[in-house]
Symmetry: C2
Subunit: 217 residues, 2 copies
DNA sequence: TAGATTGTTAATCGATTAACAATC
DNA sequence: TAGATTGTTAATCGATTAACAATC
């Protein structure tokens, strides 16, 4: 079965569609047209229809899209229709913040453990999720069918840890360290980088630019 | 002075160039060609030269780019050559994690206070950054020249809080709530959204897709 | 049936890559 | 000078938008 290649731009938008559809569901909206959704999301109706048609015809002429159905279908595309076991490496503030996000669990991402090297917090738990010591990692990953590891370590330790994780069977890394892990791991490992420092710099650029715009008026 | 419009795609890459140049600096590298940088970053040399030339000719034929100079120039473009006062709204784990990132400060983002509604943590401090109560916000923003607010509140409270912030003179919001604040605030407010849930869904998509690829081989 | 709205093709727009003259 | 590498123009590629026939 040779799946069509879907562009990154489309994938980037899918979770946003999913979020808006979820909100519509909560509001009890049953159907929506690409035109209405376009108004709400501030993207063109044409783009919405093109994006969705990459995956099949979810709509109906003259009617639009059934919100529930479209929501579920996008969920399936994103792999949210099953449970993904996740561990968090680094039980600092960020690691703990992630562990506390109950909304991830509602989307199927189940945090099964945190890991840290600090013996002082060994055995403690957050929302019932226990903090383990890093040396237990290999055994734990194998025993608990861990697919995803969120990596909230300083850059210096992140690369070596990523190697350990991948070596023990982790398939995907949600990387918060300021380094491009995808360039340092085998091609078949899924890496999603969250570079907060870079996000803040883009904000800064926009802030700086907007100010000089104002002066020019 | 009519500045040329720079595409979002270019801006998105700038912080990454900045990071790589910073690493080269640390390694004591003095000069680099677009070709060498291309190898390291896995983008085409052509793209690097095009991107940089949006802002001026930073290189020299036959030589390449002076690392220090290019680093500083990109820093200026991103607005990292001056201090930006920042407050963090929400002193939960995520807010505290952000307050603990000393690297932001090195780029010129100075966290001057955290804010929360929980009286139990009033007056406590993180790295010397004090936690204030939300009702002190208007006065504080005006008295401390706050430009940026990092918003780490649940969606339900985020929109109302964003209004308060903007009303009191905050120019830019670093938004961690699961909602598109840019669509809900005046056009001239800079909003940078960090939607972690969506990031995790993209990871999930790639994980799901890669797996079905493997089966097909 | 008439009206609405999709699915899809074609046109446009923008971003990336290639090529090479300019020049250090 | 010869070699290297930029800055920049032109070519290609891909993504977005427009248009409309199909059809519910």
């Amino acid at each position: 079965m040779d799946e069509k290649w879907i562009s990154k731009a489309v994938i980037k938008r899918l979770p946003r569609y999913y979020r808006y559809l979820g909100e519509l569901l909560e509001d009890g909206v049953e159907r929506i047209s690409s035109g209405e959704l376009s108004d709400r999301m501030k993207v063109t109706a044409s783009q919405i229809r093109q994006d969705l048609n990459n995956f099949g015809g979810f709509g109906q002429q003259g009617y639009g899209y059934n919100v529930r159905h479209l929501y579920d279908e996008i969920g399936k595309i994103l792999g949210l229709d099953r449970i993904h076991n996740m561990i968090i490496i680094g039980a600092g503030n960020l690691g703990q913040a992630l562990a506390n996000y109950t909304s991830f669990e509602r989307s199927g991402f189940k945090t099964v453990a945190l890991f840290d090297i600090d013996p002082a917090i060994k055995g403690k738990s957050i929302r019932g999720i226990e903090i383990h010591m890093t040396d237990e990692l290999p055994e734990f990953i194998k025993a608990n069918n861990v697919e995803i590891a969120a990596l909230t370590l300083p850059k210096a330790e992140a690369v070596a840890m990523a190697d350990v994780l991948v070596h023990n069977g982790v398939k995907a890394i949600w990387n918060f360290a300021h380094t491009d892990l995808n360039l340092k791991l085998p091609q078949d490992v899924v890496v999603e980088n969250v570079h907060l420092a870079e996000s803040l710099m883009r904000l800064s650029y926009n802030l700086t630019t907007r100010e000089s715009d104002r002066k020019n008026k």
